[in-house]
């Protein structure tokens, strides 16, 4: 580690090590610099504790009157070192870490990571069909719940209160499904290397179909609140403009690039988990603005419902089929079951290892404490998350723990386009533009 004099923090040596006194980051030097400039500029610091910046995002705005001349994003307030921590856990434990990155799309984080581990192990084709169907279904439900937050909070930030209440109500129904299937509403670590954590409980298909029917009905009502609403159109049409060339060079993906007319959707062009077996349309718009991105999210809800219905149809004939690879060295031995108090260890499994089979106990112990080894190499696996391409770059050195895990977070890359979208616009339009990018700071900062 190098030592250097820090311009923003004076330091003194103590017996505990160096202690820094931070004096408000770069704010003082920024103000001094501006005071020396000849022209009149106003610099406004927005966030990180601002209700409209979508989490702990800091925006440094340079204004001329109401017009924004420069926008800079400050991120890192939610950096948790997940990628570093994973290097000290085994391959299976890492799913409980990655699921907490983009907290609105936990299943996508798990899916990108687990598809990568499976690619490293060379077992991509051994994942049972039922596990793939469940993954697709859970991911599409997750897309709905994530879009519900994007639409609800986006509308709230522009001053429309009712859509938020309705969207969160619908999201609750999806979270109920998650709780019913995985035992948890968020951060489920449900998708595991080799399959999913446990089989669906009895009566899942009926419950799913009832929820789909319910959601489809309420989405129609929700649409009426904003689609074509003249106040909403005035706040969103032509705002946050980013065309195809800009989006491409900035590495922007997801609804933002689809709003430029490019049908870039990994589910179609590079299918994974059996997406090639489902009928659905890639939703695009050609307006390049906030309204286009909003319409894409609205219309993707229906496509997700379509996929879920096809999943339910497939699940009917997959009753009792395996949901984890047959290789017992990779399948996590601790079977889980949902009891009266939520998800926990399966009592049947405990009875087996503690009461009947010494061999099972040894295997359980070895696999839980040691994990499995993954052949050395590196892979990149990508899934289409609600915000765009979520890629996992995994490096293994042949050991039981990941050597390096890096996530290509769509929020991170998309957020870079804030400056391109907002410079030259009004202050109030920044809120709409950032909301249309839908950054989740847990994912941006990791």
């Amino acid at each position: 580690m190098s030592t250097y004099a820090d311009p923003y923090a004076s330091s003194r040596e103590t017996t505990e090590g160096t202690v820094f006194s931070v004096t408000g980051g770069d704010w003082d030097s920024l103000v001094t610099e501006i005071g020396q400039a000849k022209e009149e500029r106003v610099v406004v610091n927005m966030g990180p504790q601002h209700p409209s910046t979508h989490g702990v995002l800091r925006l440094v705005l340079e204004l001329e009157g109401e017009t924004v001349t420069e926008v800079r994003c400050g991120i890192g307030y939610l950096h948790t070192g997940i990628e570093k921590n994973i290097e000290f856990r085994n391959w299976t434990q890492a799913t409980t870490f990655v699921t907490r990155m983009d907290y609105l799309a936990p299943l996508f984080n798990e899916a990108a990571y687990c598809l990568g581990v499976e690619k490293l192990l060379g077992i991509t084709n051994d994942v049972p069909e039922k596990a793939n169907v469940i993954r697709v279904m859970m991911m599409e439900f997750n897309r709905i719940s994530s879009h519900m937050v994007a639409l609800g909070t986006g509308a709230l930030e522009l001053g429309a209160l009712s859509p938020m209440i309705f969207c969160f109500r619908e999201r609750e129904k999806v979270l109920d499904i998650f709780e019913f299937i995985s035992g948890l509403r968020m951060n489920m670590a449900y998708i595991r290397p080799g399959g999913v954590a446990q089989d669906l409980p009895a009566g899942t298909v009926d419950k799913i179909l009832a929820t789909v029917k319910d959601l489809r009905h309420s989405f129609k009502d929700n649409e009426k609140l904003l689609v074509g609403n003249s106040i909403w159109m005035k706040r969103t049409e032509g705002i946050g403009y980013l065309d195809l060339a800009g989006a491409t060079t900035l590495g922007v993906t997801g609804p933002v690039i689809r709003a430029t007319g490019l049908p870039l959707d990994l589910r179609k062009i590079q299918p994974y988990s059996g997406y090639e077996n489902y009928k659905f349309d890639v939703v695009t718009a050609d307006t390049c603005d906030v309204y286009g991105r909003f319409l894409i999210r609205i219309n993707e809800l229906e496509q997700s419902l379509r996929i879920i219905e096809q999943c339910a149809e497939k699940l009917k004939s997959l009753e009792g089929a395996p949901v984890m690879v047959a290789d017992k060295k990779i399948a996590w031995p601790a079977q889980l079951a949902i009891g009266a108090d939520g998800m926990g260890n399966s009592l049947n499994h405990i009875r087996e290892i503690m009461g009947t089979s010494m061999e099972s106990l040894i295997h359980h112990f070895k696999l839980v404490t040691e994990g499995f080894r993954v052949p050395a190499g590196q892979v990149y696996s990508a899934v289409e998350s609600p915000r765009g391409e979520l890629g996992a770059h995994l490096v293994s050195d042949g050991g039981t723990r990941p050597y390096r895990v890096h996530f290509r977070e769509p929020s991170f890359n998309n957020l870079q386009s804030t400056s391109a979208m907002c410079e030259g616009s009004m202050v109030a339009d920044i809120i709409g533009a950032v909301a249309s990018i839908d950054p989740v700071m847990g994912g941006v900062d990791r």
């Binding site: 070192g81 921590n85 491409t248 900035l250 590495g251 991170f412």
Partner: protein, 211 residues
Amino acid sequence: MTQDQQGMFGAQGTGDTSGYGGLVASAANAGSAQRPFGGYFDQVTDDLERAYPDFADAIERVVVDRGELTLHIKRERLVEVALILRDKLKFEMSMGVSGVHYPDDTNRELHAVYHLLSVTNNQRIRLEVSVPDVDPHIPSLVEVWAGSNWNERETFDMFGIIFDGHPGLTRILMPDDWQGHPQRKDYALGGIGVEYKGAVVPPPSDRRTYK
């Protein structure tokens, strides 16, 4: 890149009591691939060779592993090759850069890995540049793909790789006054032991683990 490993446990100093102390796991690093590479990889490398006559000099190694193509590039040639890949081979999008630290890979300790996507041809390739720890300079690709800006800042922040020509290479995730680069292997994870009923559970980095 990664070294052979001996024994089963990560125990050091106390001796390995597992009985597997003599076990040697060889680090199976993917070697250079031989033609045909399979899939679209032959076509991509052929096209690149045609469009960039210095191919043999610039590309150190071509690796095909688990259905993915990696081109190991000399850092001096990175920007030229990237421009050709973008303009001639239609790799319009860069999906960012990820760093990897191999402390045992002498004089090539720091690797920068770029993931490229061609929307036109629906292809993916990976570029890998390795530099020594004492001279961690790589030319910046912000001029080629503007989106590399934050990704390169992140890699600088986490690994200390300096991207020459970057418009503002500052820390992005860690505080400005942070010392050290957290994702490097010589940077400790940190953490403190937690006492529970008289016993101490050590922090994750100090626990006995399997390699």
